[in-house]
């Protein structure tokens, strides 16, 4: 068993693109769920809007790269309005139902043969990322520290992406300590009380849905650029639930929670996967117990067990405040 390989691959995963994508999606969910109490089970829909915004924008509409970024953001805002107008007046669970359904509608529409020209159907789109990588100021070569070294283009994406994570977190920090954020937290606690104090609750929920949705679109940008392609089946419901897991692992309603949660969650997955691979390679696990093909699935089972243990022993997440949670029991 080569612990060096396990260590190297885990360190590589810390700030790799999967962590980045998850972090951006989780920051958005944190605005929705952690601060406003909106149950958005369709964050992947916003990510798909961002991803297809740049992919279809560049390849089908032949827009410049920068303009298709704006298109992706505009599509996410549009989706937030479409979802919010009918559901934000209703109880929280209606939003949950509508968002999870709509994210599947988006995926199935994107992969349908009908829209092959615009979205590439089930095979997706590629060849749109050049506009981004043309901006890469780093020359060819390898960048980073030790095992966390990436090639030039990947490094450029990560630098831009994590800068975006910092900026988004800063934005959330500034907003949530302002009176605007106070109204949001009030809505999370009891929207009727906030309404009785003269606040336009539906308006605030809509603003929150849009803001978190735009962060979701950012994660879609990162996803599309990291793969240099968009595959509709990458935008299934599991994306949303991984982001939820990351946010809750870090602590909902904390600025830093979703970011640290995403990094830890993704690294944990890679760590468990590589431990299994190495243990199997060294003959500690026989084929009868676990075949090599099953490792990808079993790592989720094991990480799930870790998450369950966390929920039992530290239900508030890593950065949450246990006192807050105790209040719910009253």
């Amino acid at each position: 068993m080569d612990f060096g390989v396990i260590f190297d691959r885990s360190v590589f995963a810390l700030f790799a693109d999967q962590s980045l994508i998850l972090a951006l999606a989780a920051i958005g969910l944190n605005v929705h769920f952690g601060y406003t109490g909106l149950l958005n089970f369709g964050q992947v829909g916003f990510a798909a809007m961002g991803a297809y915004g740049i992919a279809s924008g560049v390849t089908y509409l032949e827009l410049p790269f920068g303009v298709s970024l704006l298109l992706g953001i505009a599509l996410a805002v549009l989706l937030a309005l479409l979802l919010g107008v009918p559901t934000l007046r209703l109880r929280a669970d209606y939003l949950a139902i509508v968002t999870i359904a709509s994210s599947e509608v988006i995926r199935l529409t994107a992969r349908s043969a009908e829209f092959r020209e615009q979205t590439g159907g089930s095979s997706g789109l590629g060849g749109f990322a050049q506009g981004f990588y043309d901006l890469n100021p780093f020359g060819p070569g390898s960048y980073g520290i030790g095992p966390a070294s990436y090639d030039s283009n990947r490094f450029f994406l990560l630098v831009v992406g994590w800068t975006l994570v910092v900026l988004c977190s800063l934005l959330v920090f500034l907003l949530m300590r302002s009176p605007w954020g106070r109204v949001l937290r009030g809505i999370r606690e009891d929207e009727d009380a906030v309404r009785s104090l003269g606040k336009n609750v539906v308006g605030y929920k809509m603003q929150s849905l849009i803001l978190g949705g735009v962060f979701g679109a950012f994660s879609g940008f990162a996803f599309a650029l990291a793969n240099s392609s968009v595959q509709p089946d990458n935008y299934g419901t599991q994306f949303t639930f991984l982001a939820f897991a990351a946010m809750i692992l870090g602590g909902a309603g904390r600025v830093i929670g979703p970011v640290v949660g995403a990094i830890l969650f993704q690294t944990l997955l890679v760590l468990v996967e590589n431990v299994l691979i190495e243990a199997k390679g060294a003959g500690y696990i026989s084929d009868a117990v676990l075949s090599g093909n099953d490792i990808g699935a079993v790592r989720f089972v094991l990480v799930g067990v870790v998450l369950m243990a966390l929920m039992i022993f530290r239900p508030q997440g890593l950065f949450g405040d246990k006192k807050e949670l105790a209040l719910d029991a009253r």
Partner: protein, 304 residues
Amino acid sequence: MPADVTKTGAGAAALAGLEARPGVPKPDPILVADGVVRRFGGLTAVEVDHLEVQRGVITALIGPNGAGKTTFFNLLTGFDKPDEGTWAFEGKDLAGVPAYRVARRGMVRTFQLTKALSKMTVLDNMRLGATGQRGESFFRALVPGVWSGQQRGIDERARDLLVRFKLDAKASDFAGSLSGGQRKLLEMARALMVEPTLVMLDEPMAGVNPALTQSLLGHVKDLREQGMTVLFVEHDMDMVRDISDWVVVMAQGRVVAEGPPDVVMADPAVIDAYLGAHHDAPLSAEEEQAQLSAAEAELEGGHA
């Protein structure tokens, strides 16, 4: 009694000569409701033909469980929509106005089940009540300089109110850690942050321990001294008698009586509404005898 008049204020004096009948017009009404009807399926929960609430006094809304008091509150404050009817606050029509705009116009309510925002501090609860905050708009929120000055003023007002309600020591605690009675106090104080002209309290005394009741009563009276109008729902008759200038009685969705507390509480229609007709008519000797023999006959029958 002139002393009594000064105690209850000028508004109450204006009510002195009024006839005690449902829907009686008041000299200076702040709130007027006409033909407000709310049905839940086949059940008519509220059917108020006409009601006026006098400015500057404490009006109690009483009635048995299920009389429609809270539903009527919800309708007036925009938390529920009636099937028919119009109502006006300060002469301006309120029908169809959303709840948050009703509050901004100065008609603020509290809830029967207290809605303290548990995971926010007591001070943050209070701050939320202030209206017209610049920092509550998305873009201005990003520049603390725009709203921090206003915030200091709000904080000062909030702390003054907390001192009045004896919650100042709790300012930085989570609202969820307060006792039931303290939450009622916080909710009332928070409503005052909106600077209302009409305060609507839904069962302010429910679940409050007797030691706090007196202080809560004092706070409600204070509101009137400060020129606010109070409309409250309550079950505790002693409290109603103690602080209200005018009492409105609802039963089965309708206003069945209104008038000064003493007059209303002696009204047979009110006693009927609460306890049912003939609840305390004594049994005559003949009736007693008849019941006794009926019971005996039943016992005999059982043995046979």
